[in-house]
């Protein structure tokens, strides 16, 4: 436990979440390490968002544990100091201005007012800070969500599908931001269903299918899974190879879910 980086490690242990008859997350175990971008991949409905909600204490697990820095997140007094998270760009009241939204969040954690202006400038929303969020495009809301995640300058950052709705410039900006945050020694956990995006951003991949862990390995190792035909060059930079590896792996998961033992 007394590892020097334990202050920013996300640990998921035998995590299971059932909603009535549906098992959304099934015996998941993995850790997310600091200093690198960890991609969280899986097809729609594979349990990514549920896992993130369990880590953040928004949902209670049926069994198992999820901790950040060795503690259940629900036991933390001031969240933004420890974890910044963008779960859904829509998790904002449409009637409030961007500035008021961030100001309330900042105040609740004892964060200075200057910091609100700082993050607004960082995500490029300073010019529209007084406008109501209801009039924002999805891309602008994603930026607002990223601003909220950055407010507390936290050592752990979690982003659920942050790229959706961003324009090409925004995607490049977000990619650089995630890499910079990881370069500063933070834990950066980014979910996506776009393998091609992860190729440019992630150092490490955690792949889910049907609520189960399919892969927990470096990007290079993952690329080596690509079927021969697609992985001709065996290069990490070949998006076709990664895409094929991803499709191959998750297709298997559907097969196993049907009751076949691995």
């Amino acid at each position: 436990m007394p590892c020097p980086h334990s202050g920013r490690v996300i640990e998921v242990n035998e995590l299971t979440k059932r909603f009535r008859s549906v098992t959304a997350v099934d015996g998941l175990t993995f850790t997310v390490q600091p200093g690198r971008v960890t991609g969280f991949l899986g097809p729609n409905g594979s349990g990514k968002s549920t896992t993130l909600r369990l880590i953040l204490g928004l949902n209670a697990p049926t069994s198992g544990t999820a901790t950040v820095a060795g503690h259940r997140f629900r036991d933390v007094g001031t969240g933004l100091r420890h974890v910044g998270a963008l779960l859904d760009a829509g998790d904002v009241h449409r009637g409030r201005s961007a500035r008021a939204h961030l100001a309330a969040l900042a105040r609740s954690n004892g964060i200075s007012r200057n910091r609100v202006q700082e993050v607004l400038e960082e995500v490029g929303l300073a010019g529209v800070a007084r406008r109501r969020v209801g009039g924002f495009s999805l891309g602008m809301r994603q930026r607002l969500g990223i601003a909220a995640a950055l407010l507390g300058d936290p050592p752990v950052l979690i982003f659920d599908e942050p790229i959706n709705g961003l324009d090409p410039e925004g995607i490049r900006w977000a990619r650089d931001l995630f890499r910079r945050l990881a370069g500063e020694g933070r834990t950066v956990f980014v979910s996506s269903h776009l393998m091609s995006e992860m190729e440019h951003t992630a150092d490490h991949l955690i792949v889910l299918g049907g609520g189960r862990l399919l892969a927990d390995e470096s990007l290079a190792t993952f690329a080596a899974r690509a079927p021969k035909r697609a992985a001709r060059a065996q290069q990490v930079a070949d998006p076709g190879a990664l895409e094929a590896a991803f499709m191959n792996l998750t297709a298997d998961s559907v097969e196993f879910r049907a009751g076949d033992a691995r």
Partner: protein, 270 residues
């Protein structure tokens, strides 16, 4: 939440000690800049946060002012000119209930509740801060209308004799706001919550009156509306209960509402 082990650990990491060394690719400077105004956030920080949330919605102030104006106009237009017109007071009661409900239903409907609870994972603190802000605003709201009533109808007792009535009116709207908060937390849907508030705070006192049979009298006396009526002499003032029981009734509604809000939000996946 006095102990915050994560905070302590981070403080260590920012100071000296072996925790300072981290990923080999990075410099040794602490990664967290000075963005916090103090060591760690306190409960006192949550109150202004909820205050910002309440008043940054454009509809809050006009709605409250509208209800005050309408209540005072109706009190003024009332031919009987009783100081506290019972039926008119259903209006601020429902208004206060809506105020309490909106503060939590708005968060559930938009999904903001998830953002809020990531920022402040301790749900009990969020509920108490919300309840405190909403209750304070509702109490002032009730007090303003009660004072306005006295000013509009100056024939009645004023001065110190009016103090218990003013206090009871402020406590009534406060209790109604907390009932709205509890129903909103339980139901989470604005239309259904509004209906619930109208039934509990509005329809029940019109339907059950304290001068009916024994059962109806007991239930009526346990409603905020008749407890307030007993204390102000408004509406169907009940002769079957004492002032202290009436105060106790209002207090019980407040306490029950807060307990219901706390337990509901604590148990729920959001």
């Amino acid at each position: 939440m006095t102990a915050d082990p994560v905070a302590r650990r981070d403080t260590d990491a920012a100071g000296e000690g072996p925790a300072l060394s981290r990923a080999p690719s990075t410099a040794t400077a602490p990664i967290q800049r000075q963005v916090f105004t103090r060591g760690r956030a306190r409960f006192g920080d949550l109150l202004p946060a909820e205050w910002i949330k309440l008043w940054s919605l454009r509809s809050t102030a006009p709605a409250l002012i509208g209800v005050v104006a309408l209540s005072l106009y109706l009190a003024h237009a009332d031919p009987v000119r009783a100081t506290f017109d019972g039926t008119v007071w259903l209006l601020p009661m429902l208004g206060a209930g809506a105020l309490g409900a909106q503060s939590i239903v708005g968060e559930h409907a938009s999904g903001l509740i998830r953002t809020t609870l990531v920022a402040v994972p301790d749900r009990g603190r969020v509920v108490l801060a919300k309840a405190a802000v909403v209750a304070a605003v509702a109490a002032v709201f009730g007090l303003v209308i009660a004072c306005g009533d006295l000013a509009v109808v100056s024939s009645r007792a004023t001065g110190f004799a009016a103090v218990p009535s003013l206090a009871a009116s402020a406590v009534l709207t406060l209790a109604c706001a907390l009932v709205g908060l509890a129903l909103g937390t339980l139901i989470r849907n604005l239309a259904a919550t509004s209906f619930g508030i109208c039934v509990v705070l509005g329809f029940l006192p019109l339907f059950l009156k304290p001068d009916q049979n024994r059962w109806a009298t007991d239930v009526a006396n346990a409603l905020p509306y008749y407890a307030w009526g007993r204390l102000t002499g408004a509406g169907h003032a009940s002769a079957t209960t004492t002032a202290s029981v009436a105060w106790g009734t209002l207090a019980a509604w407040m306490a029950a509402s807060i307990v219901l809000t706390l337990t509901t939000l604590n148990r729920r996946d959001v």
